[in-house]
């Protein structure tokens, strides 16, 4: 029985440790930041607009307005595989937050809510 309890305990500790070790902090972008970035609204479990445009080569502030009581964030990745993080915003409920996105090269980037990964959108950098 002790072995049974120990096994469950070790699995739980390992799972929590693995989760903690993957939560890495992002470096703050250096240089001036354009405060007039687009606003992304989360409402009824969807982003609006689902596609936003920002200027290439400039740090920009994205304004995120979560109108749902459910928690959401704007997590920007290089592409839909979500393997390469660019900017991961704070997870909030019924709240507005600003998020500084580092200067990006021209192209189309993927964003999603990290809590509800079916909530997705695109950032077009021109």
């Amino acid at each position: 029985m002790k072995r049974f309890l120990l096994t469950f305990g070790l699995v739980a500790v390992a799972a929590i440790s693995a989760a903690c070790s993957t939560a890495a902090a992002q470096p703050a972008p250096s240089g001036p930041v354009d405060p007039n970035g687009p606003t992304i609204v989360a409402k009824d479990m969807a982003f609006a607009p689902a596609t936003v445009e920002i200027a290439a080569g400039k740090n920009v502030t994205i304004h995120f307005d979560n109108q749902d009581s459910a928690p959401h964030n704007v997590a920007i990745y290089k592409d839909a595989s979500a393997s390469e993080k660019i900017s991961v915003g704070e997870i909030v409920s019924s709240k507005k937050v600003d998020q500084v996105v580092p200067a990006l090269a021209a192209g189309t980037y993927f964003f999603r809510c990290d809590v509800h990964t079916n909530m997705t959108g695109s950032i077009v950098v021109k």
């Binding site: 049974f4 739980a12 929590i16 939560a23 809590v115 079916n118």
Partner: protein, 141 residues
Amino acid sequence: MTPRSSLRPLDVIIRIAIVGLTLGTAYIHSTLGGLLFTLNATGYVVAALAIVIPLGLAIRFRWFIRLGLMGYAATAIIAWAITGPYYTTAYIAKAIEVALITLLAIDFARMDGNPINVIKSELGLLSSKLGRRPATGQAGA
């Protein structure tokens, strides 16, 4: 160890704590929105009910409900550890689930004994029934 059906005061306290923790994590999941989290919350509510309901069938298979709820919570923890997201509410929910698994394991040990022996006994009972041979089986409350 023979499974027992009578509840001692400490058993009642443990069972209340299990129900509280199960409903706690159910509530957190119900606030997250989306079908997956809602189903997860519903599963926890059903499990909380099953762990205490005084129905003969539930009492007979309480050992299975305990193991099932432990597996359910462990699956939720592992799935979260793999996919995230890692933020305060998630850490609270997972801490509750770890505590829940621990209490369920303690409850199992107190009421049913060694899980391997219980499963062997139940499988023996099942094979006896399938073979139409008389057999005896017991389960904790």
